[in-house]
Amino acid sequence: MDDFLKWLMGGAGAGLLGQAYSQLGNVGQQGLSYGQQLANLQQQQAAFRPYTITTPTGAMFTASAPAPTPVGVGAQGFFVDPLAGSGQEGGQQDYIDPDFDQEMLKSSHPSRNMAQADMSDPLPMRPEGAFDPTMAAPQPAEFGMQLSPQEQQFYQNMFGGAGQFFQQAAMPTADRESSIYERMRALSAPEEELERQNLEQRLAAQGRLGMQTAQFGGAPEQLAMSRAQQQAQQSQKLAAIQQAQAEQAQQAALGQQYLGAAYIPQAQMLNALTPGMTAAGQAQQAQLYGTGLFGEAAASGLDMLLATALGRANLAGSLGGGLLGGALGIDLKDII
């Protein structure tokens, strides 16, 4: 009887040990599953929220949510397509070390293991349908800026004007010098003609109109006038050169000014972006904080659940070990 009892006790103890062992394995699987679910949920909760900033003048800044990034297995290992999330192999990809425990990763992949896991007690906070398990990693967010039509017109005008000014500044000044000189000559020519006529009349009255001299060519007065007019023309030529160069510099400066003005709408929009981004950042920070709180709370429940399961397994193990040790007359603790 004693033997039977011992056998029976040994058998019960072994069964309890096996159950405890099995329960311990299930506890791990459940912990992993719940952790993954919690991570996915928190990832979703912490995901970027698109927003748009619109300035009073109509310019808009748009920050769109990143597209989900598919996770696939390529010939060279897993990759995450940072651009399209198509999961195609090849191209510029970020590869995961192929020596990594692929089984573990396979088992950890939600698409393959979630269904197999014992999800009899799923986490209640997971929103139904809000989580796409294929979105393992977020794609880069897209930011867009758009000016209002008026600003865009202004920008285009300014940019076109800047181009014209720079183009004019890059042109040779000879033609402009000539043009300015001709205009200056056109202004001074009537006066010079008047002076010439006055001199002609004066010389005629003095009977000196037909004078030719070796010293002066004509009459000294004619030479003086010719010299003065030549000097005036030379001065006008010099002034025309200086004016053309000044205009060239002015064109370049205007080009600079136009170019700078062309970016004013964008700059003003960027300026307006700062407070918008601050507000969005604050909202994101609050979101992340809530997500953290949620994670901590969920993790504490999960810890308690795992601790309970672990205690149950330990209890069953201790009972099974006692029964088995009693049947065998040994203390398993000494062995283990």
Binding site: A204, G207, F216, P220
Partner: protein
């Protein structure tokens, strides 16, 4: 009862010269209707002019031509007479030495010669001007063949050098004060370029060169104005009236008469200044600080000619009066006399007002002088002689000379004028010593003596028509009493006519003789007594000649041949009876 004779005393007849303009009846008896070969002498009487004496003894170079211009080259102690004629340039008076530059062809003898700054300049239309200077030396060698212009000749013995300006003849080389050293007789001269050699013979100073050959000259002959008129004034030569331009006056560089393109030379075209719109320059004159430009029928006066390039300025214009010919312009010191189409005129000199009133000097013969001017087909010549106090104007083609006495003017401003008909003078020049040179076909003559190279000439005087104060009554001339001074042994004729007839009645008489007595010379030959006697100074002849006929007006004339002695007409008394009224 016998009627008293009415006397007209013609004291110093023709004292006012010829007057053919006023009515003969109303004329002052002091005028003359005719005063040929006469001048107004120092006492204000009408007198016979002087004749000319030919000084030239060798006129071979002149040939059959006439002297057309005479000019004295004036340089201290080296004055020299130059003349032109027969398309040549001559120097000398007794012998006309051909000074024409070698290789220079003269086509006309209408030269105007001016002395300026130790040079003598010859200008005429279409000819490169010529220049004479004592500085232009002539080297005589045995042969000039082979020498070239502008090469240096060097004396083999003396080592003296000179630059050839032109090869004048087969034995003469012109150098222009380029000589460095003195050539020695019979040494060999070697040309630096041609290597030609010649034996030096002698060197003489002074020669005539083409203007372009002169140092400092405008080298391009085309740029040298070839004016027909030239004057030296205000430190420059002034020329005008070229064959292609008759409206431009050219002036040379200061004191360099051969430089027309450099320095302070220049020109002025006055085609737009003529007061009549168009004219042609005929003559130039410098007077009273002005440059006077004579056109044919207008005059333009410029001031500031001292610095023409800067100060030359129109001062005045005269329309309607011009100058007939450049050779009629003469300076008298106070006036510039010139012949216009309407007679002899002058610009007077006024220093204070700086104006130049123009006056007419030939009002008493206006029609005559206009006629002569219009009919003159040859050329004009004139001269002013302060020693003789006259201005001579010769119409060469008509062989008529008017003599204007410049000592004073009549009430109307005219000069007293007499006429020298038959005068064949073709050139004049008054030399620095007062000698009046006359050029003609005989060569160069001097205005001296009382015969035309030993040929007598006729002195004529005719009074205007005399009315004895009553032109309505007949005059019966009874006596004519001339008083003559001088003219030994001459036969004189008193003419008288009536009522404007041109046929006269004549009375001949002889002028007395006066043999001059000389100291220590017997009057009647050797050993005669007395040895000599004093002469009475001027021979005075008074005659009392009977006259016949009658008329309302009376003309009295006197003619005599002048042949070696001076003659003055002191007075003529005409005594007549007054008859009935006609």
């Amino acid at each position: 009862m016998a009627q008293q004779l009415r006397n007209i005393n013609l004291v110093a007849p023709a004292f006012k010269g010829i007057n053919t303009e006023d009515s003969p009846i109303a004329q002052d008896p002091s005028f003359a209707e005719v005063a040929d070969n006469a001048v107004i002498d120092k006492r204000g009487r009408i007198a016979a002019r002087k004749g000319y004496s030919v000084s030239t003894t060798d006129k071979t170079a002149l040939g059959s031509g006439s002297i057309r211009a005479i000019e004295e080259f004036k340089e201290a102690g080296a004055n020299k007479i130059f003349s032109v004629g027969n398309n040549k340039v001559f120097s000398g008076v007794t012998t006309l030495v051909d000074e024409t530059p070698a290789g220079y062809t003269i086509n006309n003898d209408n030269w105007k010669i001016v002395s300026f700054n130790d040079n003598l300049y010859f200008f005429q239309d279409s000819q490169e001007p010529l220049v004479y200077s004592n500085a232009f030396e002539v080297v005589t060698v045995d042969s000039t063949t082979g020498f070239v212009v502008d090469e240096t000749i060097t004396g083999g013995t003396s080592s003296a050098t000179a630059t050839i300006k032109s090869v004048h003849s087969s034995t003469e080389l012109y150098i222009e004060q380029t000589r460095d050293g003195t050539f020695t007789a019979s040494e060999t001269l070697t040309g630096g370029t041609s290597s030609t050699t010649a034996t030096f013979s002698s060197i003489s100073t002074g020669s005539v060169l083409k203007m372009s050959d002169v140092t400092g000259a405008t080298t391009d002959v085309a740029n040298i104005p070839k004016g027909n008129e030239v004057i030296g004034a205000y430190g420059r030569l002034w020329t005008a009236d070229t064959s292609t331009n008759t409206s431009t006056v050219y002036w040379s560089d200061l004191l360099i008469g051969q430089n027309w393109t450099g320095g302070t030379s220049g020109s002025i075209n006055i085609s737009k200044v003529w007061p009549d719109g168009y004219d042609e320059i005929v003559a130039l004159a410098a007077h009273n600080g002005f440059l006077i430009i004579f056109g044919k029928h207008s005059i333009v006066v410029y001031q500031g000619a001292e610095a023409p390039a800067t100060n030359l300025m129109l001062a005045d214009t005269v329309a309607g009066v011009g100058c007939v010919d450049r050779d009629t312009v003469q300076h008298t010191g106070t006036d510039v006399i010139f012949l216009s189409n309407t007679g002899l005129r002058s610009f007077s000199r006024t220093i204070q007002e700086k104006s130049m009133p123009i006056s007419t000097l030939s009002k008493t013969i206006t029609k005559d002088i206009i006629s002569l001017t219009q009919n003159e087909s040859s050329f004009f010549r004139s001269v002013f002689s302060p020693e003789e106090n006259f201005y001579l104007l010769t119409f060469v083609g008509q062989q008529t000379t008017y003599c204007f006495d410049v000592r004073g003017t009549l009430e109307d401003g005219s000069f007293r004028v007499t006429r020298w008909p038959g005068s064949s003078y073709t050139a004049y020049d008054r030399a620095e010593d007062g000698t009046l040179y006359i050029g003609n076909s005989d060569g160069i003559c001097q205005y001296t003596g009382y015969s035309d190279n030993s040929v007598k000439y006729r002195f004529k005087y005719y009074s205007p028509s005399l009315t004895f104060g009553d032109p309505t009554r007949l005059k019966l001339v009874k006596k004519i009493k001339p008083t003559l001074v001088g003219s030994n042994n001459a036969s004189a004729f008193i003419y008288f006519g009536y009522d404007f007839e041109t046929t006269y009645r004549a009375t001949e008489f002889s002028i007395g003789n006066q043999t001059p007595a000389y100291f220590d010379v017997n009057e009647f030959g050797a050993n005669s007594s007395p040895l000599s006697e004093f002469t009475g100074g001027e021979l005075t002849t008074q005659k009392n000649l009977n006259a016949t006929g009658n008329g309302a007006t009376v003309v009295v004339g006197l003619e005599t041949d002048i042949n070696g002695f001076a003659l003055s007409l002191q007075e003529i008394n005409v005594q007549a009876l007054l008859g009935k009224t006609v």
